[in-house]
Amino acid sequence: MRKLLLVTLLSAAGVAQAANDNRLATRANDLIASRLVNIPVPAGQFERKPVSFSYALNPQNQLATSTPFTAESREYWMQTEGSELNKGLMIDTTAPGALIRISPAVGAAAIAPGNMKLLRNGKAIDSTKAFSQQASTEQLQKAGMDVSSGTAVVKIADGQGEGRFQLVVPKASGRYLVHVFEPNSDVTLQAKADRQNYLAGDQLVVNALLGKNEKAMSGTEISGLLVSPSGKTYDLTFKNENGALRAASKLPNEVTQQPGLWEVQVLAGASDGNLRIQRDARTVISIAQPTAKLNGQFRFNPQALSFSMPIQVGSQGRYELSGTLYATGRDGISRPVAQAAMANWFKQGKGSLNLDFNRANLPAGYGAPFELKFVELKDQTRMMQLESRENAARVGTPR
């Protein structure tokens, strides 16, 4: 009973504070810009009219904070010459059933899957036993795999096991890209950025692990690159910190006109006896130029269930504010009840955007106090997330 009283008092105190102080709350993982930039509007067709939208959510469907993607690779790429394929390209595998895809560069001879031969210790393996599956460019493309012309894929038969093979393509000529994918391998390279959205100049941290059954392999060599949507690359230097591979890097201020995400590419290798183990992993992040920001204040209209937020605009463009309204049920539990968004075109300067949740979206039995969560400010002209606040505000008097 005493605990209940304490919780009620604390809750009431929080509500009272929110009512008097209309500043948005911040948390450690929120994305908030401290500066603004003025960059031109990119080429393209953009909506200019203000648009608002809201709809009801099912309160029983819980929402969660999204977490960064963990890339897990069982594959690697290498480039080679036709002359190497004529003699026998060394391919090390760690598990049976490896898939090998060879793609010719411009001007190189096309590869037909029937022309590939597999050797072990210099001895040719019977072609009927070497590969369990093979596919031509036409077959792969018809299956929706958008491979380049002249590409072929073979799957080493499970019965051949793992280890070192030589792949021979007698008529290969020119340069080729070789992709080795080992779906059955327990050797993986994992890579994960510490967040999904960054602002230019922020600190990026990437953690990686080359492991066998998730146990780190000793002697791992690792390198990494950050690749912008325009293809510009930036080195990522990994350090071994008590067995954990970690790269920390200040993000560039590059303003890219290309839409799309930035790629984090990690390449790792290690030795396992005589075998050379390689893995390449990729994941993505977004790096935004701070073209606009919320000024940190808000006004709440309890009758309309509407939040109004001033924004500061550094670059002309279309900006969207979105958020989720949580309301308190009869059981005292706060649940998501409505989603709202508004976007408009702004010139450099000040403006404001509203989140009109609309009382009609409030389910029966739900009311104050309300919470505004998952507030996001996006630049729709440049496809960038500029700001996010997970628990932005708590308003309204408890019933």
Partner: protein, 284 residues
């Protein structure tokens, strides 16, 4: 009981007075004649035959080699849907998507403020029947986005991969699902029902006539691409990707004639009674 009867009558009368239409939204590719080449007439005509007015249909032709938000993708789709809605006076719109078409439609429903035409489209949509949607991307898109930057930096690119292929890499879709699209686990639901038909397997035995629906050679390729995928896949998409957004309407084997699976190519064609199920759905 009387109230229930009145409510049922009202619901029936509102359905009768409604003008229902269906839109067919293709997957990745730049289509100019999706009616003949992507869906094929048997599929389209059988499905639209279930409408009170079978003339209320549109087959979308857009450039879905672009990113989903591009004016040539979502913008084009919004334009064709808006024209269809206004020219036919559509009040209830059922959208049938295949593959990446589900992502473009989900873009419209998740980003209503992006384009002033989007809210009106959303208001008319009653549901999206997403056939094998690539909601969480596919490892095959990762595989064809040629290797790593060391290959590309050498200046011997093997060929430009479309933005749509890049976008359907697993890590990219994970980002967009978390930040721009609704309907996946932990994210707000979409404003309208988005339900998927999941293809769980591929059959390509030369002696099995079922392998020939939608083309035998296409299914042979799918058997091989399945090596990149989980044990449950339609040869192009893992089941987990097809069921990542919205709700699962049904898995292929539970509803298809003879318990047949739907490969990725078969889920856009009149195979194993799929067209009949979609036709029946037009009357609700």
């Amino acid at each position: 009981m009387r109230y229930l009867f009145v409510f049922a009558l009202l619901a029936l009368s509102s359905l009768c007075s409604a003008n229902t239409g269906v839109a067919f939204v293709h997957g990745t590719g730049n289509q100019t004649d999706a009616y003949n080449t992507y869906w094929q007439p048997t599929m389209v005509n059988n499905v639209r035959g279930g409408l009170a007015n079978p003339a209320n249909f549109v087959v979308i032709n857009c450039d879905f080699t672009q990113y989903m938000w591009d004016s040539r993708a979502a913008g084009c789709l919004a334009g064709q849907l808006s024209s269809f809605i206004s020219s036919k006076g559509i009040t209830r719109l059922i959208v049938i998507t295949h593959s990446n078409g589900g992502n473009v439609m989900r873009w419209i429903m998740s980003n209503p403020t992006w384009d002033s035409r989007f809210p009106n489209i959303i208001s008319k949509v009653v549901r999206v029947n997403a056939l094998a949607p690539s909601s969480a991307g596919t490892p095959l898109a990762d595989a064809v986005t040629n290797g790593n930057v060391f290959e590309t930096s050498l200046g011997w690119l093997l060929g430009y991969k479309s933005d749509a292929v890049k976008m359907q890499q697993v890590s990219w879709m994970s980002y967009y699902n978390s930040n721009y699209l609704f309907g996946t686990s932990g994210r707000p639901a979409q404003p309208k029902l988005f339900r998927s038909v999941v293809g769980t397997d591929v059959e390509s035995a030369i002696w099995d006539s079922d392998s020939y629906c939608a083309g035998y050679t296409e299914n042979v390729g799918l058997e091989i691409t399945q090596a990149w995928l989980n044990s449950c896949s339609d040869g192009f998409l893992n089941c987990s990707s097809q069921s990542a957004a919205g709700s699962v309407w049904f898995n292929d084997k539970t509803r298809m004639a003879g318990g047949e699976p739907l490969s990725h190519n078969q889920s856009r064609r009149a195979c194993f009674g799929l067209d009949s199920i979609l036709r029946t759905d037009m009357s609700y």
